[in-house]
Amino acid sequence: MTTTPLSIASHGAPRQRLARLGQRAALRLGGGLLVLWAVATLTFFALRLMPGDPVLAILGGPSGNPTPETIAEVTREYGLDKPLVVQYGLYLARLVQGDLGVSYSQHMPVTRVLAEQAGATLELTLSSLVLAWLLVLALTVFTAGRRGWVGRLASLAETLCAALPHFWLGIVLLAVFAFGLRLFPPAGSDGWATLVLPSIALAVPLAGFIGQVTRESLELTLDQPFILTARTRGLSDSAVRFRHALRHAVLPGISLSGWAIGALISGAVVIEVIFSRKGLGRQLYQAVQAQDLPLTIGISLVVAAGYVVANILVDLMYQWVDPRQQEALA
């Protein structure tokens, strides 16, 4: 964002500051673990309290034809004959040891499913986030605070983008650029070409959100006296915007990005289904449908962990971008 060296007014020794930062990170981490435990517990009970027998889910749905022996064997193998509380205890104990269990529906360890699918979703989420920020930097930063139709039009565009549902955008992009113009493949998850349309579908609504927030704070910043000072020093408009104003105005956008990681992953469920991409979102959708308890919890945990990590990162980034935050810490 900026290359201007920072002159940080530091209070206290750097070591003290580091310690405080470490404390803060530890606190965040503890909170994160609590969130993970809550997610595991909620998902476990939500899925287990759904009416119906998971054995039948394991054996391939409502009108399978299994023998009584087969049903007994499945019940035994997955420990479904024990009381629910015992199952929960066993499950937590295994979880603490990092054992997520074996997926009912995929016939392989949950960790392996996660390893195989997480990459594609991460790729999609990150490229969408980067694309969203590029759009914000390109459109919002240039048009914020401009009186007249340019500013108003850009602001309207942001509102419209933010209101677009992912699935609708995905389908329109498919129809126009994949089916119609045939510029990009309509399905699959190998190579950059398959990443373009899904990323756009996820990035545009997000860019709308971040853009709205950034525009508001940018407009406030542009009215500050130091901006006027910078302008009187003869700096060009874009230099003022990018080097001076943006640094102040970008904070709400950054904290929104932490939330956006979560929103992107939930958006990925729909987008991965529409574009037939592999990934955690589509896998989660299938896992819930198949009542695949270990896999559903495993994916929920990874998503929650992603959320926690993203928020810790955002927190740290805050410190880096805005020195005032460090003073507040002191």
Binding site: M50, P51, G52, D53, V55, L56, A57, I58, L59, G60, G61, P62, S63, G64, N65, P66, T67, P68, E69, T70, I71, A72, E73, T75, E77, V102, Q106, H107, M108, V113, E116, Q117, F167, W168, I171, V172, L174, A175, V176, F179, G180, L181, R182, P185, P186, A187, G188, S189, D190, V273, I274, S276, R277, K278, G279, R282, Q283, Q289, A290, Q291
Partner: protein, 555 residues
């Protein structure tokens, strides 16, 4: 094969169709673009890669485990079966050269080919047959379909290297028929010794292709078995397959699948959506294969264990008050024919006599309901008796495709005319299963794909009223129990004589039809779209499953 959800689970096609329209108007381009037609070569060319796209990903590539339709489609390319079935439903040799059946129908002796090897080098022999049947019957395999079809299995003797003697508990004339299904395909006994989950990833057969890699949620890669020498007599050629490689892709969204086919990005698609049939027919680049699957057609089965369907007059009135033909025309654009009897046309021993035994007849429906005492109507026009409204509840799981839901809405509209209130209850599949297990429904929507008329025994005989196990559910969804019917379908298993079986199954169909146990709608079907560069794609007759052994590409 039992399977309630052959289609994509949730996303509908309509928004996409709309988007195509949008693209067409805005950009002057749509979803029907064609390029110049290539000339199809009629001479098979070896080599090349075929890209196949289907809707659902199997959960395991070993068809013995679980047993759902996506598994058998893929397994058909990788595994050979003990016996084959031709389009007429007659059983022929395959890995077994010939067989004898004992007079009591309890012992089957198979004389096996002595020149076949699995793709891991293991020889095919009697021990392999024993290992496979034991594997399907073993509860640890968690076999729902293959294991369920051979409940009568007691054990196999290895008489000599190439002779296997299979013992059954009770006579089971449908044994050879189910053996011809890909679900009971033969796998390498050495590979079966691995854990179930490893075998799920890379089953080993004697078939024309072998599994190389399964990239989950994306594709399975198959390569040709260069030493293949055991093609069935139903195949068009012998020796190795023409195709070098098959990429078996999973594209869930039907319109994306169809668009990928039109663009030539994939060569063959499965589960062609009915709304695209017409577009596919008009497109000179595409060829269609549509075939009905044998078994019990799609239907709503009536629960006769509680009111109001415990009264046969109400059952008949309900069935006759539903205008299925009209509903099919409007929902599936006339692409799905009506199935009127308990067996679909493609089933061996199907009798056409019952095709129109249950046709739409609102006058007769009204008369029957009057007779049954439902003669008065309430303010909304529904019939009442003893202060109770004539109400029936249909249970639909959440994986029921939207089109099926619409079909039942049409049924609802026509039964309303007769004064019957059809209440559609949509819920999660698990809840639906629970309601089924508790007999808490009046109509349950389902179907059963299998290549034998013995399906009548599974869905209507009293043995299947009991749930399969603790927490299980019954297969006889109607709750029909009739000793005469039970003995008929049992007799049909005790004879090998086709004429006798034909006669017995005709009687079985007559009873099922005359009891109005189901409102049958349309037969299940396999629907392939094939791009111009691909030829020789066929359906394996036992379950109408894609068979790529004879296919080739000119690319």
């Amino acid at each position: 094969m039992p399977d309630l959800h052959p289609y994509r689970p949730v996303t509908t096609t309509r928004p996409l169709a709309l988007a195509c329209l949008l693209a067409a108007t805005v950009l002057g381009t749509g979803c029907d673009r064609h390029e110049a037609s290539a000339v199809r070569s009629t001479v098979p060319t070896p080599g090349g890669t075929l890209v196949y796209a289907t809707d659902r990903e199997p959960t395991c590539l070993d068809p013995h485990v679980g047993g759902d339709m996506p598994q058998v489609f893929l397994a058909q390319q990788v595994l050979d079966s003990l016996v084959s079935m031709n389009a007429q439903g007659t059983i022929g040799p395959w890995l077994a050269k010939r067989w004898d059946v004992s007079a009591d129908g309890l012992t089957y002796t198979f004389y096996l080919r002595d020149d076949v090897h699995f793709t891991d080098g293991t020889p095919f022999n009697a021990a392999a047959v024993k290992a496979n049947l034991d594997h399907m019957a073993n509860p640890k395999t968690q076999s729902s379909t293959a294991g369920g079809y051979i409940r009568q299995y007691r054990g196999t003797d290895v008489v000599d290297t190439y002779t296997a003697r299979v013992h059954l508990e009770t006579p089971y004339a449908a044994f050879l028929e189910v053996l011809a299904q890909g679900f009971l395909g033969i796998e390498s006994p050495k590979a079966l010794l691995r854990t179930r989950d490893v075998n799920c990833e890379s089953p080993v057969g004697t078939g024309p292709f072998k599994v190389v890699r399964w990239d989950r949620q994306s594709q399975v890669e198959l390569v040709r078995n260069p030493d293949y020498n055991s093609a069935p007599p139903t195949a068009q050629h012998q020796g190795p397959a023409y195709l070098e490689r098959i990429i078996w892709k999973f594209i869930q969204e039907p319109s994306v699948r169809f668009a990928s086919l039109q663009a030539g990005e994939v060569d063959v698609i499965e589960a062609l959506p009915p709304e695209s049939h017409e577009a596919a027919r008009r497109n000179p680049d595409l060829q269609l294969i549509i075939a009905q699957r044998p078994g019990n057609p799609t239907n709503g089965t009536l629960n006769i264990r509680r009111a109001p369907f415990n009264d046969i007059r109400v059952r008949e009135a309900f069935v006759r008050s539903a205008d299925i033909e009209g509903a099919l025309k409007s929902v599936y654009f006339g692409e799905f024919p009506r199935a009127g009897g308990p067996l679909s046309q493609a089933t061996r021993f199907y009798s056409p006599d019952f095709e129109h035994a249950q046709d739409y007849d609102p006058a007769r429906a009204a008369q029957l309901l009057d007779e049954a005492g439902w003669s008065r109507r309430d303010s909304q026009g529904y019939r009442i008796k003893d202060g109770q409204r004539l109400q029936v509840h249909v249970i639909l799981g959440n994986r029921t495709p939207p089109s099926e839901f619409t079909l039942w809405e049409q049924v609802q509209a026509t039964t309303r005319q007769a004064g019957i209130e059809l209440v559609m209850e949509q819920m999660s599949d698990v809840q639906a299963t629970k309601r089924q297990a508790d007999w808490d429904y009046d109509v349950r929507v389902g179907y059963w794909n299998t290549n034998t008329a013995d399906v009548l025994r599974i869905i209507f005989s009293s043995a299947f009223i009991q749930p399969a196990g603790v927490g299980g559910y019954h297969q006889n969804t109607a709750g029909f129990s009739d000793p005469a019917f039970d003995s008929l379908v049992q007799q049909a298993l005790a004879t090998q004589d086709p004429a006798q079986r034909q006669a017995l199954y005709r009687q079985g169909q007559a009873i099922a039809s005359s009891q109005y146990l189901q409102l049958t709608t349309y037969p299940q079907s396999t629907r392939l779209g094939i791009y111009k560069t691909t030829q020789g794609v066929r359906l394996e007759p036992s379950l109408a499953v894609t068979y790529l052994y004879d296919a080739w590409v000119n690319k």
